[in-house]
Amino acid sequence: MADINTINKDFADLFNQGKQLLMEGSSEIMNENRSKAFQDFERLGVPTRANENYKYTNLIPAFDHPYNVNLRYLKVDVDLNEIFQCDVPELDTNMVLLTNGWFYGNNKQLLELPKGVIVCGVQEAAQKYPEIFNAHYGKYAKPGEDGIVALNTALAKDGLFIYVPKGVVVEKPIQVVNLLRSDRDLLATQRNLFVIEENAQAKIIVCDHTLTHHKYLSNSVTEINVAENAVFDLYTLQNQHLNSVILNSTFIRQDAHSNVLTNTISLYGGTIRNNHHVLLDAEYCENNTYGMYLMDHKQHVDNFTCIDHAKPNCVSNEHFKGVMDDEASGAFSGRINVRRDAQKTEAYQSNNNLLLSNEALINTKPQLVIDADDVKCSHGATVGQMDEDALFYLRARGIDEKEARQMLMFAFAHEIIEKIRVEALKERIDELVDKRLRGEISKCNTCAVACNH
């Protein structure tokens, strides 16, 4: 097995040798960020378990593999729209496809978007809309604090750009399908930027999944700015295969009176690490950060969250729930910062875990740093087995053991699903989670949200 120094050196070589290709087609601002981020990466490297924030997730096996890296867009030899034409009628979305981190070149035009809304690739946005792009790109992510964010910024060439102008309400959710499709093992880098302007509203559903069985490492960073009084939802559905590694870092900045809800649902994937950073940067923001993970086999999931209350009078609600079976392992880390001026902050956090086997493992760690005095904060973590009394109660009414367990697991998970603010999606996820808990979905080859097969 390679040691971490070899891995880091390989990336340095890749960067130096691929510099020409990396710079090509990227805007000045992306390349400025790139060079700086590379220096950060040289200093930080791929995080190891010596890093307190990565104590429970060993990334060395994930990185210690000869992946291919595509530094330019490769034309796709089939029509991906064909593969994804299936749609559940009740979940009516604007669908957009990305392939291996790149905006898909043959995406259908989204005809139903309100005027002024932009959905395109990051490269394209950097060229066509430099004013918007340059005002936000690289402003929220922190490559200086995390090696994988630095690596993403150093290698980033494309991803998804979404812009919702002032006062525009996008009624239909925008559904982003991230496809990993390759004939070789692949490291995919994806960089997204979502800009939601004042009084605007949008809901985005992101589905990750793999179309072939190769080993994937996807390292994505999403920056989101939610302006004053805007309402924004982000639902992330992670459904890949056991041989994949998902590194997903999200940085959200909220302005005054904005309302954000995120729900990160990890259904399947070999190793999943979600970094979720929220900055409440003005007064009267509301942030709802939810997540759910259903892990079995030897899957590993690590949700690392940080809610930063920088200004007074904001409310944050955070709730993650997990069901762990077999030899699955996981971690939840919930950091809440309440800065000195952030009086009248309300910050609530909980993490509940259901362990179905003796081998399953979860580490849960709240971390509250409170520098203001007039605040309401609470946190709680539970790790437990299935409630035997409840199980017996159901069985005593004639419900067989398997179904009774299913009902209790589903009830446990449903609390998180309930928070979804798109009715049709909620029903779809209910169905999906029910199937997942019954062991009927091991890996979905098709889009889990949009397709029924």
């Binding site: 017996f392 005593a396 009414r397 004639g398 053991e401």
Partner: protein, 250 residues
């Protein structure tokens, strides 16, 4: 219908039931009384199949079948219903879904098709009326946030939905106000058929004014120490358990 012979039950190596014998014929109502900690709820739970308790000796047959070999769900489908002394709250499981699953499992067992949604709702309505339970309660998660009395009412509602052959009602009267007691007791009586049997576990004569027992047993220290007609309940109400305890000291 039910035959219990020399039943010994332990928990964590501690013997709680020390040789119970009990015969119940179709249509009979038996009351089991006895001081706190005597083992009444243990007996009820063992009948329903709770595996927390270890049966170390003895046998139980129900309608000719060996009950001890059956899983709790199979016992329920064969017609045993336990009204819990302390009904469990199950957040996130809706009462409707719970009852629909249970009713359809019972139907499947009898070789019947699952109920159509409309028929199921009608059944719910009828049975709710029978025990005068509010839709506000049945629209919630199972027992979640119910008051003590509401939980007991909900037990009888479930009993009404499942129409058991043998109902074991463990202190269904405790926590009920006087009006609710009458409603619940009337519900139980209306559900009773010529061949269905009932075991009522209670501390109070009051309930037995409504659900009139054929036979009254006193369970004390893991044994049935007295069996008589319904007048025994009145005697216990008057004199308490000291005389029973004294008799059994020797």
């Amino acid at each position: 219908m039910l035959s219990i012979k020399n039943l010994h039950v332990s928990i964590d190596g501690k013997e709680i039931l020390k040789g119970i014998n009990l015969e119940i014929k179709p249509g009979e109502v038996h009351a089991i009384m006895g001081p706190n900690g005597a083992g009444k709820s243990t007996l009820a739970a063992v009948l329903a199949g709770r595996d927390l308790y270890e049966v170390t000796e003895g046998e139980i047959t129900f309608q000719g079948k060996n009950l001890l070999e059956m899983a709790p769900e199979d016992r329920a489908k064969e017609g045993i219903f336990l009204g819990f002394q302390y009904p469990i709250e199950i957040p996130g499981v809706s009462t409707v879904n719970f009852m629909k699953t249970a009713v359809n499992e019972h139907r499947k067992h009898k070789g019947l098709e699952p109920l159509k949604a409309s028929d199921f709702l009608k059944l719910m309505r009828d049975k709710k009326a029978l025990v005068e339970i509010d839709s506000k309660l049945t629209n919630r998660s199972v027992n979640e946030g119910f008051s003590g009395g509401e939980k007991k009412k909900n037990e009888i509602f479930q009993m009404a939905m499942l129409e058991p052959k043998l109902a074991v009602l463990d202190e269904t009267d405790s926590g009920l106000d006087i009006d609710a007691l009458r409603v619940v007791a009337n519900g139980v009586n209306k559900l009773k058929t010529a061949d269905s049997s009932t075991i009522v576990i209670t501390h109070y004569q009051r309930l037995l004014d409504y659900i009139v027992p054929d036979i009254v047993h006193v369970l004390y220290n893991g044994r049935i120490v007295k069996t008589a007609g319904k007048e025994l309940a009145l005697e216990l109400e008057e004199k308490g358990y000291d005389w029973i305890k004294d008799e059994n000291k020797k």
